[in-house]
Amino acid sequence: MDNESTLRGKVAIVGIGQSPSGRVPGRSPLDLTADASLKALADAGMDKSQLDGVLTGNAYASSFHRFSVALSEYLNIQPSYSNTLQVSGATAGAAVNTAAAAIYSGLADTVLVACGDSLLTGMTPDLAIKAMTESRDQQYEMPFGIPVANTFAMTAHRHMKEFGTTSEQMAQVAVTFRQHASRTPGAQKTDLISIDDVLSSKMVSSPYRKLDCSLISDGAAALILTSAEKAYDYNQEPIFILGGGEYYSHEHIFLMPNLTETGAVQSAQKAYQMAGVSPLDIDVAGIYDCFTGTVLMMLEDLGFCKKGEAGPFVEAGEITYGGRIPTNTHGGMLSYAHPGIPAAWFHFTEVVRQLRGNCGERQVKDAAVGLVHTLGAGFSTHATTVLGKGSTL
């Protein structure tokens, strides 16, 4: 791939915003998403009249079929570019990549990329069924009572069998992200936990216990992307898209080619190549952390350590401050918030804050290049985005 012909450095994130998250009763997904969107506009110092594109994911606790169109109406925006994306947990990264491509191509000038949901307090029984049955195949998976957690759990069992990964090593991920969340204003869970706490929490879907699993939350987050030409017209230091990649290897978990090596390999490779960087160049990462073991597998597939070595890597403190790759410095979905599809938007807002240098006591020193990897549906969907400061162009 010739970097000159890609969107590397052509598009930047110029605004970020978040609604309150955690337990936020009495606020609809649209209300939360509008809140985050207005905060992103304020952060950029931009009027909504500048937006001509709106991309969102869908919200389970909302009956709107075209959430991006409903959000536009809610904010009284009439975009000339809009879509509601659905690739499960990878929607965040796919939406950012897609918005960047739209801006680079001229389809849009300035795009709001937002998502919100109220999974914790806003789900009615009918919406809960819809959420449950929608995500796995009604014929070949759901009749056996397989929640999405189970698909990830089966990959973890294979990883333990093939590489000797232990429950203690997986628990370390939860412990580390809780430490990170304890320093993040607005985090849902801030009480420090130990490996023993994780190992003595209730079994959910073996080998995952309650504290191996992400939270259930309400909340929304929003990003505003614009072209490099306009990126310096706004209030904040622009954070540039250096590269994007995606990969979709299967739909059914039983057709996943290899349970311990995922499409993140191909997704990341493409993003690194476009960005002209290697994993060694990444200073800070946001990695989709629906379960503890998910993070271990991604550390390997994203190239931060070798296949099978993520357990010892995490035990050695490599995913926190002073380690090889500080990850999920806000606390991730395991401790900051997990409102469903919007969850990975918070990985983006945190990595952007880290690259701006705005993280206060959470700041990763001299962070210049960041990576966000989002994934979903039992490792079916993957989207990687490499971000960088203007100095990296």
Binding site: Q139, R158, Y208, H252
Partner: protein
Amino acid sequence: MKQFTEEDTIQKPLPIPDSDSQAMWEGLKKGELLLQHCEDCGHVQYYQQGLCRICQSKKLVHRAASGRGIIHSYSVVHRSPGPAFRDDVPYAVLLVELEEGPRMISSLLGKDFTHLEIDSPVAMKTMKISEQVFLPCFELINSADK
């Protein structure tokens, strides 16, 4: 949009056969797990579709699987994914690798998880859910019986 009732929340999601899968669900009523064999490239596939996933040939024939396989992976569900499965927990979801090659999602019959391990041999049994629906489930077998 379909409005769901409280009643729906406790019903298990049942397969709704489509034109691709009708034969398989019919086969299960007779105790057979049908796999699709491609007459052009020899690929054996689960689940049923109109094309061979490898060579896109439409020359697919159904043959009953032996019903034997090994556990490629598994997870024991302790927290139910909704009210419909609340009375069933704990139960084991299996990713079975069939003798013929394909993998499938299924359930372990019974609640004895002591010998449930990756690579354990299993054999299929159908479980009647309704007149129309028989699910392919598996039980652990002793290696010696194989």
